[in-house]
């Protein structure tokens, strides 16, 4: 089954999924990429892929969780790819915004370091950190969404923060 019914437009089901979740996907991507163009690319690419393939079972059952994971992976791919190509220009958009507001070199360095370090985390760690700090989910909400126990989430969150800090300390030496 594909998420459209005929050639005369998107199906109601597809549109419903899009309308319900695109903002969540966008916010997720923006928190990783730090700029609107890339976040928009992530949303567009993700839903285009869904248009061109059979709807996965996990998407039908847990659309939000499925799309969230896909958004994290898509955004990380973009950031890592740009990093590999030394194309950091667009990622600086948010960074420079923050710099203008804070007028501090130190803040610039911290934000750059944060984004670089997040890009080096495993996707699962990024998923948990973003649910907590970008989407303000509680441990219980994260556990429900990711299908884990609250205890597991608390431990994973602690480890993700510790790993992030380690990466940021390394990055700070720059």
């Amino acid at each position: 089954m594909v998420p459209r019914l005929s050639g005369d437009g998107l199906t109601q089901e597809f549109e419903r999924i899009f309308r319900e979740h695109w903002q969540f996907v966008y916010r997720t991507a923006y928190s990783i990429t730090g700029n609107h163009s890339d976040a928009e690319d992530v949303v567009q690419t993700l839903f285009l892929k869904l248009l061109h393939r059979e709807m996965p079972e996990s998407l039908k059952q847990e659309p939000k969780a499925y799309l969230y994971r896909a958004a994290v992976n898509g955004a990380l791919n973009i950031v890592r790819s740009k990093k590999r190509q030394n194309l950091a220009t667009d990622r600086i958009e948010h960074l420079e915004t923050a710099v203008a507001q804070s007028e501090g070199e130190e803040q610039e360095a911290i934000l750059q370091n944060l984004l670089d370090s997040i890009a080096q985390l495993k996707p699962r760690a990024v998923e948990i950190l973003l649910l907590r700090y970008a989407h303000d989910f509680s441990d219980a909400q994260i556990a429900k969404m990711l299908g884990k126990s609250r205890g597991t989430i608390a431990v994973s969150l602690y480890r993700a923060r510790a790993r992030l800090r380690k990466l940021m300390l390394r990055g700070e030496e720059l």
Partner: protein, 491 residues
């Protein structure tokens, strides 16, 4: 004195980017519209998989099938028996080369086979040599487009744009003709040169946005996700680009960046133009004043993403932007070739490809790598934490040609680098060099060239580890010069 790193939780709460609501609002409908436009030309797995219904044999389908088999067989037979089955092999490229197939541009690489009726194009500053089956060679100049056509008594090279130099084979398989806009000329003698365009740059009038509005940017209030003056030290604006099949929107972008976007090609983005001074002239406001553009793209234009546009890989949209700048900013550009200080990548202790391959193989796995993404070309990576004053970085090449290495080095040293090694082929290597900290906030990875101490380390490593050197030289760089420009009137 530097303060210790704040608590991680505090950093995440304070710095993690959050998408501003007011900027997001308009995006959903636009993305949905884009998805709908794709849906009107759907290509799904259902289309690719034969369903039972599709393959139910009817007399009509049987007849159609027979005809199709006959046509395909005819083509195959012709291809097999015809000694003049026309194609060209990309022998060398110097910069970006594209072939156009089914309305889409694809990068063409050395060794690629270019069939007849597939236009092939070089970008600004690039060149290429195509070799025909009989050994004839077509040398393409910058921004040239050629199309090979099989004709009764030989081959016709249609020069749609730019210039070519044709060297016929000693024993040609047939006659060679070059056709430009005015005439078709037979190729006689050792080398034949033809040109299609003249200076100053002619902006095509056929590629235009349907409707376009330009206005000076208004600073977005704090928290709006962008800022009034977002221009980097290189002069490039960090404004936002939105591109979907029918809509082109840029906000908070100066004219300098707009021109570089319009004339960009892969590897030649705004940073490249700025680092190599490849866009010159114009009054101060070209770099200081920012503009918002909203335009409607004509129906039927190939669809590109904002990323493709930023990379200079959206020829049709770029041509429309060129036309818009010529029309509304009264922009007149001229193309010049200027000599400027640069470097030549030359042989040091390495004398040939075999030696280079040997040295390159010895670099693999020699240094620890923090982040490994195998299979990616020429990527600088950090390889250690360093001693506070410096930090080891790795310039990694995966199946990289010497031209690609030269291009990468150019971005790192901030000057044009031309490949004078004479070595063909692709190499995998890992050069470790030291990024040396200084007071200039020169952070690797932000598209800025390295500082002088880091460049010294890079050059030393290049010589020690790969046996290659960079020699200071004057190099010819194609420069766009702004000859005339006016501020646009608001509409």
């Amino acid at each position: 004195m530097k303060r210790p790193l704040p608590n991680t939780e505090e950093i995440l709460k304070r710095y993690l980017p959050r998408a501003p609501e007011q900027i997001m609002e308009e995006k959903g409908e636009r993305i949905l519209e884009h998805l709908r436009s794709h849906e009107s030309h759907p290509r799904t797995l259902d289309d690719e998989r034969p369903s039972n219904g599709l393959w139910r044999l009817t007399p009509l389908r049987f007849a159609v099938g027979l005809i199709a088999v006959a046509i395909v067989s005819g083509f195959l037979l012709k291809a097999l028996v015809s000694p003049n089955n026309l194609y060209a092999i990309v022998e060398t490229t110097d910069g970006s080369l594209f072939r156009v197939a089914e309305g889409k541009s694809q990068v063409a690489r050395v060794g690629d086979k270019i069939g007849a009726d597939n236009p092939i194009r070089t970008e600004a500053g690039a060149g290429a040599v195509l070799k025909l089956p009989d050994g004839s060679r077509i040398k393409m100049g910058p921004e040239s487009e050629v199309l090979l056509e099989q004709i009764e008594d030989g081959t016709r090279i249609r020069l749609n744009d730019g210039s070519v130099s044709v060297t016929p084979a000693k024993q040609p398989a047939g006659k060679l003709y070059v056709q430009n806009r005015e005439q078709t000329v037979p190729v006689v003698g050792a080398t034949f040169q033809a040109a299609g365009t003249a200076e100053p740059i002619q902006t095509p009038l056929s590629d235009k946005f349907d409707v376009a509005s330009i206005r000076p940017s208004t600073p977005i209030p704090a928290g709006g996700g962008a800022r009034g003056n977002n221009t980097t030290a290189l002069g490039c604006s960090m404004g936002e680009i939105q591109l979907d099949p029918r809509r082109f929107v840029v906000t908070n972008v100066n004219l300098y960046t707009l021109v570089t976007m319009a004339y960009a090609s892969p590897g030649r983005d705004c940073q490249f133009f700025s680092l190599t001074d490849s866009l010159a002239g114009g009054p101060g406001w070209v770099r200081s004043d920012q503009f918002d553009i909203q335009a409607t793209i004509p129906e039927g234009t190939p669809s590109y993403t904002a990323t493709q546009f930023r990379k200079g890989a959206s020829r049709e949209v770029q041509k429309m932007l060129q036309a818009l700048l010529a029309d509304r900013f009264k922009l007149v550009l001229a193309r010049e070739t200027r000599e400027m200080a640069g470097f030549a990548l030359v042989l040091g202790k390495t004398k040939d490809a075999a030696q280079l391959a040997q040295l390159a193989s010895e670099t693999i796995g020699k240094f620890p790598v923090i982040v490994v993404q195998p299979g990616e070309p020429l990527v600088p990576r950090r390889t250690g934490t360093g001693d506070g004053r410096s930090m080891p970085w790795l310039l990694e090449g995966r199946d990289a040609s010497m031209k690609e290495l030269a291009s990468r080095l150019a971005a790192l040293v901030g000057r044009p680098v031309v490949d004078h090694t004479g070595i063909a082929g692709q190499f995998t290597f890992e050069i470790q060099y030291e990024w040396v900290r200084d007071a200039s906030r020169d952070i690797p990875g932000l598209g800025r060239p390295l500082n002088s101490d880091s460049i010294s380390s890079l050059l030393k490593s290049l010589e020690e580890q790969l046996g290659l050197k960079l020699e200071a030289t004057k190099t010819a760089v194609e420069v766009l010069v702004i000859e005339h420009v006016e501020k646009p009137s608001e509409n």
